[in-house]
């Protein structure tokens, strides 16, 4: 994908979560873009703007040559073409893992119950949730919930998969399970934008990095360039800080 943001501003009261963020992946065809940077730097907000869950107060985003819509009807269509995975999983607690996947397929994407059911089982099995299809989220572990959430996001074959710190709430074992799934998806050709603190994972899987701090995009470059020679002092400190104990 080709991704370009110009002067993005998103304010919450007096606080600007995005404060004039601009970046571009240029002519480089990016498959997996990692959003890195300190907490509170604007990663989640930027991801929501890219996924049309939030409309920026100022600025615009251009994805593969077209501007993302700011009005609700267009944004809804855009969201229906994306898959979104949250830090807190956000599965629907009153539905089983299976129903969490089939309900949007049937109601949003017009699939029949049979088609939706087949697609749900295919994904749940692929993501290692065989035998857990008919459990409610509260009966699943965190890693299983996050894999079910990834299955839900993947079910309608999204153009773009957006993941907001998908492993921040998981222990190291579960983190590994979920990162394995994401790596497989990336290797399978899925376009992904991922906000994360897992820099060793980003180094292996991402081909482009946007480094955000205080609502601004301080760096935007290929993963090799960013991890090899970070330009800004802040990015160097961030990488050093995160690699100190791993």
């Amino acid at each position: 994908m080709k991704l370009e943001a110009k002067g993005l501003v998103k304010r919450y009261g007096a606080h600007a979560a995005l404060d004039g963020a601009s970046f571009s992946t240029g002519e480089h065809e990016a498959r997996v873009i990692a959003l890195l940077g300190p907490s509170g730097g604007g990663k989640s907000t930027l991801l929501r703007v890219l996924g049309c869950l939030l409309v920026p107060d100022e600025g615009r985003v251009c994805l593969d040559g077209r501007d993302l819509p700011h009005e609700e009807a267009g944004a809804l269509l855009e969201r229906r073409g994306n898959g979104f995975v949250f830090q807190g999983y956000n599965l629907f607690p009153h539905l089983t893992a299976f129903q969490n996947i089939t309900l949007p397929l049937q109601e949003v994407h017009g699939m029949s119950a049979v088609q939706a059911g087949q697609r749900a089982l295919e994904l749940l099995h692929r993501l290692g949730l065989e035998g857990h299809e008919h459990k409610r989220p509260s009966q699943l572990s965190g890693g299983q919930q996050q894999r079910a959430a990834i299955a839900r996001a993947l079910a309608p074959r999204p153009r773009l998969l957006l993941l907001d710190e998908p492993t921040s709430a998981l222990d190291p074992v579960m983190t590994g399970e979920v990162l394995d799934v994401i790596r497989e998806l990336a290797e399978g050709g899925q376009s992904i934008v991922l906000a994360t603190h897992e820099i060793s994972f980003a180094r292996k899987v991402a081909d482009h990095v946007v480094f955000l701090a205080a609502g601004k995009a301080l760096e935007c470059s290929t993963a090799a360039a960013f991890f090899g020679q970070p330009q800004s002092q802040l990015a160097r400190q961030y990488l050093e800080g995160l690699s100190r104990y791993r």
């Binding site: 996924g51 869950l53 809804l76 969201r79 229906r80 994306n82 979104f84 949250f86 807190g88 956000n90 599965l91 629907f92 607690p93 009153h94 309900l103 949007p104 109601e107 949003v108 994407h109 409610r136 509260s138 839900r152 996001a153 309608p156």
Partner: protein
């Protein structure tokens, strides 16, 4: 206690009125059931109206809720029947009674429903948007199913109150259970023999209603 006050029972005196009693009981049940349907439907609409995007609708629904909750049911019944229905030439006491009783409890239910709906977290609403649900789908598939369980205990209590409040409908000439018992007392001078079965007749309905609600709560139970 009855011995202490030296009460002389006269069950034979009231037994004659058993068919009147049964009639009153059926009237109470029938009109309460109708008013319950009205109150739940109107309460839901008032809750939706209170959350509408268009401010006049929000103000209208919010104002109606406060007005109805802030004034006595008795006054609403008298105004509803002797003024509004009279002016509209729609003087069927039963219809007016059901409408006023339903509207009165709808105002309370609207607040119970609002509380339940507002307790659904922002992350659920965001997830609903993320999977591509529009506003109506979000209500139908995400908010209402989850809010229903949270609203259930409050709603049951409100419906039990509605059933008991139906006794006030005697003021507009509806011969429901309490009115029948009053008539019976006037004739037989045996108040307790009338009022004790009256209490039992309400409990026969309200206790199973509460049990049913507990059953439903368990059925919908899931951890969030």
């Amino acid at each position: 206690m009855f011995l202490a006050v030296d009460y002389r029972w006269n069950w034979a005196g009231v037994w004659k009125y058993r068919s009147q009693f049964a009639q009153g009981w059926l009237t109470t049940l029938g009109l309460s059931l109708a008013a319950m349907v009205v109150s739940v439907a109107a309460g839901f609409l008032l809750m939706l109206g209170g959350r509408a995007r268009w401010m006049p609708v929000r103000l209208l629904c919010g104002g109606a809720v406060e007005l109805v909750r802030g004034s006595p049911l008795l006054v609403q019944l008298l105004i509803g029947y002797y003024i509004i229905a009279e002016a509209l030439h729609a003087g069927f006491p039963l219809v007016v009674g059901i409408a006023v009783l339903g509207a009165f409890h709808a105002a309370y239910l609207a607040e119970i429903f609002r509380g339940a709906v507002e307790s659904i977290g922002a992350s659920q609403l965001e997830a609903a948007r993320a999977v591509g649900f529009d506003r109506a789908q979000t209500y139908r598939f995400v908010i209402v199913p989850q809010a229903m369980r949270r609203a259930l205990p409050g709603t049951t209590g409100q419906l039990v109150s509605l059933l008991k409040d139906s006794s006030l409908l005697s003021v507009i000439g509806i011969e429901e259970l309490v009115q029948k018992v009053k008539v019976m007392n006037a004739a037989s001078y045996a108040p307790l023999e009338g009022y004790l079965p009256l209490a039992a007749a309400y409990l026969i309905v309200t206790l199973p209603l509460a049990r049913l609600a507990h059953g439903l709560e368990r059925r919908f139970a899931y951890e969030t």
